[in-house]
Symmetry: C2
Subunit: 183 residues, 2 copies
């Protein structure tokens, strides 16, 4: 951030009055431009004992496998956002969304809220966002080709919880960094 | 938003390529400035069967009663943010934070994540942010002077859950608007 989005004058990084952290403050109109963590919403789309994964058709991590997840939009609920994203990435329709995990990724200020969700049919297909979509049973999950640590951790948690028949909501932290391309 | 925070040229509101919603896009450098919901974190500070409330010393809703809650900062976990805010508003130290409710307030694009939390002592006091802090039992909650609908709904849910001994995490929506001053 270089300039005030309200009046176009330069911003400076300083601690505003009655605050304790540095913020971008306009040198002219004194507006404070706060930056806050962003929420990503997604789901584990289930069909019987299969999980639907998507192979990313966009960067980052193009070609790797993921679960449907995207930034929450203003004005929508988290469950609606997760269902919308599943539709956009897989053409699949989900229902009965149940809150499952909240992952905090503090080093990139992202919060992932993941739901368990029931696919209403197996009518899914590749889309602009996914070069391939496919149902997986646990033993066939492509662990070496998962796009992001948070997705790997979601899947590992799910299979572990399934053994214990306990899908209680939990808040967890993701501290693993993303692999660099080629690693 | 009037100007690009990167290059200071005017922004226009338009749907970017491969997107479906209008965003502020720079007319010069083409940067897209996304706006996303903000997360507020807070808690119900408990001491035996008492709840600690704070009387707001700042606008909005100055003079009305609330629970400690504030915007989540970049780089902190939600539980750490809720504990920090409790300290700032009441000087109270909480531990054993348990995720309790996620409230979606879509008409103002805010998400409240509220925890149940155990105060470690009754050492609490008024602060810059709270003109008064006080322990309440259910029958003495000042229902006519609660600052925000989300706080009222959190408290109502808590007392209802306490009867049923079930504090399961739930996602709920807040659709009630704030009262205008003087109402």
């Amino acid at each position: 951030m270089n300039f005030c989005s309200h009046c176009a004058h330069p911003v400076v990084l300083e601690v505003p009055p009655n605050d304790s952290l540095p913020r971008y403050v306009c040198s002219s109109c004194a507006r404070v431009h706060y930056e806050n963590p962003k929420m990503v919403v997604g789901c584990i789309p289930l069909w019987q004992d299969n999980i639907l994964l998507c192979r990313r058709n966009i960067e980052p991590a193009m070609g790797l496998w993921t679960l449907p997840a995207e930034y929450l939009e203003c004005g929508e609920t988290a469950a609606a956002g997760a269902a919308r994203e599943t539709l956009e990435e897989t053409a699949g329709v989900v229902a009965n969304l149940q809150p499952y995990r909240l992952f905090e990724i503090t080093h990139i200020s992202q919060i992932y809220l993941m739901f368990l969700a029931q696919l209403q049919s197996t009518a899914v297909r590749a889309t602009d966002e996914s070069m391939e979509v496919k149902f997986f049973q646990e033993q066939h999950i492509p662990w070496d080709s998962i796009a992001f640590p948070v997705i790997e951790q979601t899947l590992q948690g799910f299979f572990s919880d399934r053994v214990r028949h306990d899908f209680s909501f939990r808040i967890l932290r993701v501290t693993t960094r993303m692999k660099s391309p080629g690693q």
